[in-house]
Amino acid sequence: MEALLLSIKLAACVSAILLLCGIPLAYWLANSQWRGKFLLESVVALPLVLPPTVLGFYMLLAMGPRGPLGKLWHALFGRRLAFTFAGLVIASVIYSLPFAVQPLIAAFENVDRKLLDASAVLGAGRLRTFWRVILPLSIPGVVTAVVLSFAHTLGEFGVVLMVGGNLRGITRTVSIDIYDHVQSLEYAEAGRLALALLGFSFVVLAIVYAVNRQLGRRTGRRLWTLWAAR
């Protein structure tokens, strides 16, 4: 059960960070007129197509003692980054980035432009328009972004294996633990964990779908578009 709790903790951290970073990034991507925007869009979407091992491999190099991220981390905190929980969080944030950013972009773009014009002529600046009009009307998209990044992080395997290693209580997440048990032919233990993960995931998704349905009734829109994108 230690591994399951670790996975939940990791997913919660990653979702929170992605929410904070994803909102400004998605707002910028939804509104920018910059000609080179497609380049950044491609970078954000890369984890959708790259095998987790490739992404994990590059993250491992970057986080290693001689990698740029690893060096920076060491300079800031005096510790190594590879094979730590913090390293795992950073890698997972990159890995789940499109799952948070894409529903947010869709939600922001879905807000009627005339409402933004109305807000401007009523004297509101861009920040106030964002907080009072865009964000409240994008709540279903925000919920989708959080749920998708949480669920995606909970289920990840390849990236964790590459950058986290397999340290009990630090980087051994539930998916790694299950794999280990199966390798050691401990099918009963693997089955127990797999069932716990299945049950937990189902309950979380059921709650979110129910909430989204209620929100959808109130705001007249639902944004589950990205489930189909994977």
């Binding site: 014009d117 807000s119 002529v121 004297g123 009307l137």
Partner: protein, 374 residues
């Protein structure tokens, strides 16, 4: 401009705007110069004339390529000095055709959205005051989706006027309402503006609204102002075909000028595809040149015997092709070599016992024939 105790000293809007749009299939250039005094001015023209683009430029939602926009002495936009006040600083109210009420806020929150600079208590008082002026204070806790179309239009007007703007832009805000409801809302708008006296620019493409709102009309087509004046001046003698169609002219006839009688102020035009000639007011045309004439179906008299002793110069013999009732109107199609559309009342149709195939005579007054350009 000063705001003293809620009273606003009104000032006229002056704007010279040039804006090129290349994004659509047909390139479009808006190039107008207008002056809008306090009170209601109607901006009239067919769809695609550039009315909404002009409003967007005035509100700062679209940046003109060149020009100057000022209210009184306060410059909002000036391409020569690179002045461009953002929308939120212009103090211009804009009611969109879609109204754009915030769907997640109550009516009261919608109305007080533009009042953040005020204390909570003052904000509430002002919002309730304007809601009362537009007779919707009982809806303050409702969401926009829970109120009717007419109520939404009232709330949208209240929301934009509560900020005491210097100019009000209305982009067909009352479409889809019946005439009575429309008139009631316009009365409330006039009552509100009696105290404020700000310029109001009201966009429409329907003739009925122009007649109901009166005062001044600016007619636009293809991105240009084509005429300005009272509704009678602008709409009863439109100079362009598209405008004439929008203003309710049903008959368009092409022909060739055969004779110009300057002393009489008239010229004779031979209609294409028929031998008949009609007399029309003198225009800028020489004998032999082409002309297009617009005539309202309601301006044509219909007789069942050859009329005699008339002042009207144009009498054409023809035959009724069809006769249809549309509401309280009989629409007759009469073939005089060219087919005319003629409106008569159902009572007149009965009294004259009009029927298809019947021989009739059409009488056109010279000054009911308007020369128009394409």
């Amino acid at each position: 401009m000063d705001t003293v105790g809620g009273q606003v000293n009104s000032a006229a809007l002056t704007a010279q705007v040039r804006k090129e749009r290349r994004d659509s299939d047909t390139p479009f250039v808006l190039d107008v110069s207008v002056e809008i005094p306090p009170g209601i001015t109607i901006l009239f023209g067919p769809s695609g004339a550039g009315k909404s683009t002009l409003l967007d430029c005035l509100a700062g939602l679209v940046q003109p390529d060149a020009g100057q926009i000022a209210i009184g002495g306060d410059v909002l936009f000036d391409s020569s000095s690179r002045t461009n006040l953002p929308s939120q600083k212009r103090r211009i109210a804009y009611v969109f055709q879609s109204l754009a009420l915030f769907p997640h806020m109550s009516v009261e929150d919608n109305v007080s959205y533009g009042l953040t600079h005020l204390q909570q208590q003052e904000r509430r008082a002002r919002a309730l005051e304007v809601l009362a002026a537009f007779r919707v204070e009982n809806l303050k806790t409702r969401k926009p989706e829970e109120i009717s179309g007419g109520e939404k239009q009232r709330v949208a007007l209240a929301r934009s006027l509560v900020t005491l703007p210097r100019l009000l832009l209305l982009d067909e805000p009352l479409t889809g309402l019946d005439a009575e409801l429309k008139a009631a809302i316009v009365d409330d708008l006039r009552a509100w503006n009696a105290a404020q006296r700000i310029p109001i620019l009201y966009v429409t493409h329907t003739r009925d609204e122009v007649d109901a709102l009166g005062e001044r009309v600016i007619a636009m087509d293809h991105g240009h102002v084509v005429s300005a004046g009272t509704p009678q001046q602008v709409l009863d003698a439109p100079r362009r075909k598209r405008l004439a169609q929008a203003a309710g002219f049903e008959n368009f006839l092409r022909g060739t000028v055969v004779d110009v009688r300057e002393a009489d102020g008239v010229m004779r035009v031979r209609l294409d595809a028929s031998a008949c000639e009609i007399e029309v007011p003198l225009g800028y045309a020489a004998a032999g040149s082409r002309a297009q004439i617009a005539i309202r179906a309601g301006d044509i008299l219909l007789a069942t015997e050859p009329p005699r002793g008339l002042s009207a110069r144009n009498v054409l013999a023809g035959r009724i092709v069809s006769l249809d009732q549309r509401g309280t109107l009989m629409v007759a199609r009469v073939d005089c070599g060219v087919v005319f559309t003629v409106h008569v009342t159902p009572g007149a149709a009965r009294a004259l016992a009009l029927a298809p195939e019947q021989q009739v005579w059409l009488v056109l007054k010279t000054h009911s024939c308007h020369l128009v350009d394409d």
